[in-house]
């Protein structure tokens, strides 16, 4: 009999008891009346019997134990990566924390430096300080011991050159002021044609008073320059062009040769700048009354207006018997 899929499905369902009672009755009727259907049904039942009669295999006796062991292995395998994961994560977290801490420390360090630079007290003698018309001069740091050369060269050696068209008048006035300064006896006039040279040696205070007293002749001076020699003639001397009597007095009034040189260098720069500026001068912030300052006989000291005034400035180191040497040269411009 040629297989009929629809019939095979029906007969199979009949065998398996998957038909309704009516369908079962119908199949039984068909098999009873049709030998081919009955034969096919027998073929299918025989074949089915073969597989139904296959002996049932039994699971291994240790299957349950194997299941338990497998569960334990799985839990271990799941834990191991977790542990590894955690350790890697923990290491990563620790590294990130370390980097963060380092970054914070570095940032604090940078901020500290910045804040320190902003708030740190300005050392004495460093940086610009507003003054009463004169360039503020650096004061010796009380915390720093001056170098030995400064102590040894406590004196001052300089040369003030005054060029004038009225040499006679100026010479008379200078000679009188030198005599009045109390430096007489050290006056060494050196008369040369169109030139007068006075070599003056004395105390710093005495020379300072002399220079201050010369302010009256400055109105006749066409050009004035002060040369300040370095201690022991070491190095190039500092020359201040177009120097004013106040500047000259300020330089001489310094407590040490180095301070005088620094003051002279400052004035030299300032005067060169003023020469190149419109009007040819740098006007002071505060109106300056030379008569008052010079009349008092004392050289005005810069008034510090900087932020740090708490640190007391030690009294000026006594000069002892340090001598100041100043050569005044009067040169006729005629």
């Amino acid at each position: 009999m040629k297989p009929n899929p629809n019939l095979d499905e029906l007969l199979g369902s009949f065998m398996d008891g998957e038909l309704s009672p009516r369908q079962r009755t119908e199949v039984q009727r068909m098999a009873a009346h049709d030998p081919q259907v009955a034969r096919r049904l027998q073929q299918l039942q025989n074949c089915r019997s073969l597989f139904c009669s296959l002996p049932a295999a039994k699971a291994p006796s240790d299957l349950l134990e194997q299941v338990k062991a497998s569960l334990e292995r799985n839990s271990l395998l799941q834990e191991q990566p977790l542990i590894g994961h955690r350790s890697v994560g923990a290491w990563h977290l620790a590294f990130r924390q370390f980097v963060s801490a380092a970054a914070v420390i570095a940032l604090l360090g940078v901020l500290g430096v910045v804040v320190y630079q902003i708030l740190a007290p300005v050392p004495h003698g460093v940086g610009p300080i507003a003054s009463d018309g004169l360039l503020s001069l650096p004061r010796p740091d009380p915390g720093i011991t001056p170098p030995a050369t400064m102590v040894a060269d406590a004196g001052f050696t300089g040369r003030l050159e005054l060029r004038t068209a009225r040499l006679t008048q100026v010479d008379t006035r200078v000679a009188r002021e030198i005599e009045n300064s109390g430096l007489s006896g050290r006056l060494e006039p050196d008369l040369v044609a169109n030139k007068r040279v006075y070599r003056i040696t004395g105390s710093r205070e005495g020379v300072n008073r002399l220079v201050a007293s010369l302010s009256g002749v400055w109105q006749y001076i066409d050009n004035a320059a002060l040369q300040v020699d370095r201690p022991g003639n070491s190095g190039v001397p500092v020359i201040v062009e177009s120097i004013t009597p106040e500047q000259a007095a300020g330089i001489v009034a310094q407590q040490s040769t180095n301070a005088s040189i620094e003051a002279a260098a400052g004035y030299a720069v300032m005067n060169r700048m003023a020469k190149n500026m419109p009007g040819g001068e740098i006007r002071p912030l505060v109106p300056y009354d030379p008569s008052t300052l010079l009349a008092s006989g004392s050289i005005p000291k810069p008034i510090e207006t900087g932020p740090d005034t708490s640190t007391p400035i030690p009294p000026a180191r006594p000069e002892g018997k340090a001598q100041v040497s100043l050569t005044i040269v009067l040169q006729s411009t005629n």
Partner: protein, 200 residues
């Protein structure tokens, strides 16, 4: 001393297992381990693979028991896991199995040949006890099963070996009832053809 066996319904054991009662789960495993192993073995044809797949089935059941909602019976849920694992395994090793079958020509000889001839004859019924006693014929039957495609093999094994009804097979395989019927019919027809080939 008389041992009293208490048959506890699957749903109770499942609830106890879901509550963390390991003894209940062990009872479920012990209850179904042989039937699961037998179905898997008939489907894959290798005892070692069957043991491993059965073990994997129960491990998966234990790990998933909390997710079991009871929409189907525990029985069909359990066999669904087993059959799916086995079908996946068979698909992975299909090439090897095919090569093995191609290389091995199996023919019925002697008593086995006569028994098979009687089985395939259409005029009389064969005593199932005789069939079961013939080891060679059983091996031929197993071999013919393995020559079926996996979907057809699954329905035959679940119906004729495990004894599921069509509804249960449809539930396990997640297919329509009509599909079970037609697939089973084609599978039986193919099995008969395979056995006839072995007889020649």
């Amino acid at each position: 001393m008389k041992t009293v066996s208490i048959n506890i319904d699957d749903s109770v054991l499942v609830q106890q297992s879901q509550a963390g009662d390991t003894t209940a789960m062990e009872r479920l495993i012990l209850k179904y381990q042989h039937r699961i192993y037998n179905v898997i073995l008939k489907m894959c044809g290798n005892a070692d693979d069957a043991a491993e797949l059965a073990q994997e089935t129960f491990v998966k059941v234990i790990e998933s028991i909390e997710k079991f909602k009871g929409r189907s019976s525990f029985y069909t849920w359990l066999f669904r896991i087993a059959v799916n694992l086995t079908l996946n395994h068979c698909q992975r090793s299909a090439r090897t199995a095919t090569q093995s079958l191609d290389a091995e020509e199996i023919d019925a000889e002697g008593e086995t040949s006569q028994l098979l001839k009687d089985l395939l004859s259409d005029d009389r019924a064969v005593d199932p006890a005789l069939l079961a006693q013939s080891h060679e014929l059983c091996e031929l039957a197993k071999q013919s099963l393995l020559e079926l495609e996996e979907p057809q093999r699954a329905v035959v094994v679940l119906r004729d070996i495990e004894g599921m009804d069509y509804a249960q097979i449809a539930d396990v395989l997640n297919i329509e009832l009509g599909t079970v019927r037609s697939r089973l019919s084609r599978a039986r027809s193919n099995l008969r053809e395979t056995l006839e080939t072995m007889l020649k």
